[in-house]
C-alpha cells in the first residue's frame, strides 16, 4: 500500500537514496557520461558549459534511460526493453558501456535487494543487459515505483558528468553542485515525462518509448573509446 509520500513499502524512500547515491557499488564512478571527451574537445570548459552539457544529455539520452527504467519497474518485458535500448544506442562504444554498467549493477542489486526477477534477467542475458533496464528491475526489487526509477536514471544522467567535471576541469565542487541544483526542476519534468512514456510502453510496446539522440555524445563516445590513455572508462 502506498504511503502518503508515494512509496509503496516502508523504507522505500531511503532505498531510493541508496540506489541514487554515487557511492552505491555499481561502478558508475569510473564513468564521465561523455564529459571527458567533451572536455578534450573544448566543448566543456566551465560551469556554464557543464550546465548546457547536462541539460542536453538530460533531455535526450537521459529521457530515454529514464523511460526504459520506468517501463522496467512497471513490469514491461525486460528483454524487449533491452532490444529497444540497443536500437536507441547507435554508438557501439556506448552500447558496450551500458551493458557493462548493467552487469555491474545487476551484481550489486542481487546482493543488496535479492529477487527472482534479477536472477532471471542474469540468466537470460549473460553478456549483460542495458543499465537502465537493470536499474528499473532493481528499483522494483527495492520496493520502488516507476517514477522513482525514472528519477534515479535522470539524476544519474546529470550527476555523472557533473562529478567528472570536478576532476577533469578542477571545477569548484560547489559550482558543480549548484549546476545540479539549477537543473532540479528539469530533472523533475524529465522523470515525470519518462514515467508517462513507461506506462505507454507497457500498453503499446517498447516502440512507444522516446528515442532522443545527441549526435555529439555519440561522436564523442566513439572517439573516446579509441583513446590509449584516459581517466574515465566512458
Amino acid at each position: 500500500m502506498a504511503t502518503d509520500h508515494g512509496c509503496p513499502v516502508p523504507g522505500a524512500r531511503a532505498a531510493l537514496l541508496l540506489l541514487a547515491d554515487g557511492r552505491f557499488p555499481a561502478g558508475g564512478h569510473a564513468h564521465s557520461g561523455g564529459a571527458e571527451a567533451a572536455v578534450a574537445e573544448g566543448r566543456l570548459r566551465d560551469a556554464g558549459t557543464l550546465a548546457e552539457f547536462c541539460r542536453g544529455r538530460l533531455h535526450t539520452t537521459g529521457l530515454v534511460a529514464a523511460a526504459l527504467a520506468a517501463a522496467a519497474t512497471s513490469g514491461a518485458d525486460p528483454l524487449g526493453l533491452d532490444d529497444a535500448a540497443d536500437a536507441r544506442t547507435p554508438s557501439a562504444a556506448q552500447r558496450a558501456v551500458s551493458r557493462r554498467l548493467g552487469r555491474q549493477l545487476l551484481r550489486a542489486a542481487r546482493a543488496v535487494w535479492p529477487a527472482p526477477a534479477l536472477d532471471d534477467l542474469a540468466a537470460a542475458r549473460p553478456r549483460g543487459v542495458h543499465q537502465p533496464v537493470v536499474l528499473g528491475l532493481t528499483a522494483a526489487s527495492a520496493g520502488l515505483l516507476p517514477l522513482d526509477a525514472a528519477y534515479a536514471a535522470a539524476y544519474d544522467c546529470v550527476s555523472t558528468p557533473a562529478s567528472a567535471a570536478v576532476r577533469l576541469l578542477g571545477l569548484d565542487p560547489f559550482q558543480a553542485a549548484a549546476v545540479l541544483a539549477a537543473l532540479a526542476a528539469e530533472v523533475d519534468s524529465v522523470a515525470e515525462e519518462a514515467e508517462g512514456a513507461g506506462r505507454r510502453a507497457l500498453r503499446e510496446g517498447p516502440a512507444a518509448l522516446p528515442a532522443g539522440s545527441a549526435p555529439l555524445l555519440d561522436l564523442g563516445a566513439e572517439a573516446h573509446a579509441g583513446w590509449a590513455v584516459r581517466l574515465f572508462a566512458s
Binding site: 567533451a38 529497444a84 544506442t89 532522443g212 539522440s213 545527441a214 555519440d218
Partner: protein, 262 residues
C-alpha cells in the same frame, strides 16, 4: 480531417511499389504522387533496379501541411529513390506544425536505396518528420537523412525527426533528433549540436554485414565530424555533423562511395 483544417494546409500522399518484372529488372506497378509530391521514373540504372525521383518538393511543406510518402519494394526488386531538390520547411500562416511521414517496406532479397535531398528548417518553421522502415530478413537498405537548420545564415526553425527501422520484426535503430527554439532544451549545447547547423545519417543494412570496429572520419574539426559505427544487427550507421549542408554532404559522400553500389 475536417474541411476547415484541410483549407489551412495541403494533404498529399505519394505511393510507389517496385516488383521484379520477370526479366531480371524491376517494374513499378504503382507510381502515384499528388500535389507537391510528384513522382517520376527517371530511367533504370542498368543494374536491374528502378529509379524514381521525387520532383517539386520545394513548395512544401508549409506549416499545417501533411505530406506522406510510401514505398514498398517487393521481394527480389531493387529501387532507388532520389529527389530533385531539397525540402524546405517554411512557416504557415497560423504557426501550425507541418507533418511529413515516410513509410518504407523492403522485402527479402530486395534492395531500397533511399537518397533524398536535405530537409531545411527555415526560420519560424515547425516540422515533425517520421520515417519508419520495415525490413524483412535478408532485405538491403541504404538510407540517407540530412537536416539543415536554417537557410544560409538564417536562424533555425523547429525540426523534430524520428527514424525507426525494424529488421525482421525487431527494432534495429530508433533515433529522434529535436532541434530549434522550443524543442528539447540543450539542443544547441555541447552534448547535442555544439553550434553545428547540419546533421546527417547514412544507414546501411545488408545481411552479410557483421560486427566491425567503429571508425572516425579524419577531417579538420572546422569541416565537421563523422563516425561510422556498427549497430546491434547487420547494419552500419554513419553519424555526421557539420557547419553547413555542403560540408555535411562531403562527409557523408566519403562513406557513401565506399558502400556497395554507392
Amino acid at each position: 480531417m475536417t474541411d476547415s483544417t484541410a483549407a489551412q494546409g495541403v494533404t498529399a500522399v505519394a505511393r510507389m511499389r517496385a516488383v521484379p518484372d520477370g526479366r531480371a529488372g524491376t517494374a513499378l506497378p504503382l507510381l502515384a504522387g499528388e500535389g507537391p509530391l510528384a513522382l517520376r521514373r527517371t530511367g533504370s540504372p542498368g543494374d536491374g533496379g528502378a529509379h524514381v525521383t521525387v520532383v517539386g518538393a520545394m513548395t512544401a511543406p508549409l506549416g499545417g501541411d501533411r505530406l506522406r510518402i510510401e514505398a514498398e519494394v517487393a521481394p527480389g526488386a531493387r529501387l532507388t529513390v532520389g529527389a530533385s531538390a531539397a525540402t524546405v520547411s517554411l512557416p504557415g500562416r497560423d504557426g501550425e506544425q507541418a507533418a511529413y511521414d515516410v513509410r518504407l517496406a523492403v522485402g527479402a532479397d530486395a534492395e531500397l536505396r533511399w537518397l533524398p535531398e536535405p530537409v531545411i528548417a527555415a526560420r519560424g518553421s515547425d516540422l515533425r518528420m517520421t520515417t519508419r522502415v520495415r525490413l524483412a530478413a535478408g532485405a538491403r537498405l541504404l538510407l540517407r537523412e540530412e537536416q539543415i537548420l536554417g537557410r544560409y545564415g538564417e536562424p533555425a526553425g523547429r525540426l523534430v525527426t524520428r527514424l525507426s527501422v525494424e529488421l525482421d520484426g525487431r527494432p534495429l535503430l530508433d533515433q529522434e533528433l529535436s532541434f530549434g527554439p522550443g524543442t528539447a532544451p540543450g539542443w544547441d549545447g555541447p552534448a547535442v549540436l555544439g553550434g553545428h547547423r547540419a546533421v546527417g545519417q547514412l544507414l546501411l543494412v545488408a545481411p552479410e554485414l557483421g560486427e566491425e570496429k567503429a571508425e572516425l572520419a579524419d577531417v579538420p574539426a572546422e569541416y565537421g565530424r563523422a563516425a561510422l559505427t556498427p549497430l546491434a544487427g547487420p547494419a552500419r550507421l554513419v553519424t555526421a555533423i557539420a557547419p553547413d549542408g555542403h560540408h555535411l554532404r562531403r562527409l557523408l559522400d566519403a562513406y557513401l562511395h565506399r558502400f556497395p553500389g554507392g
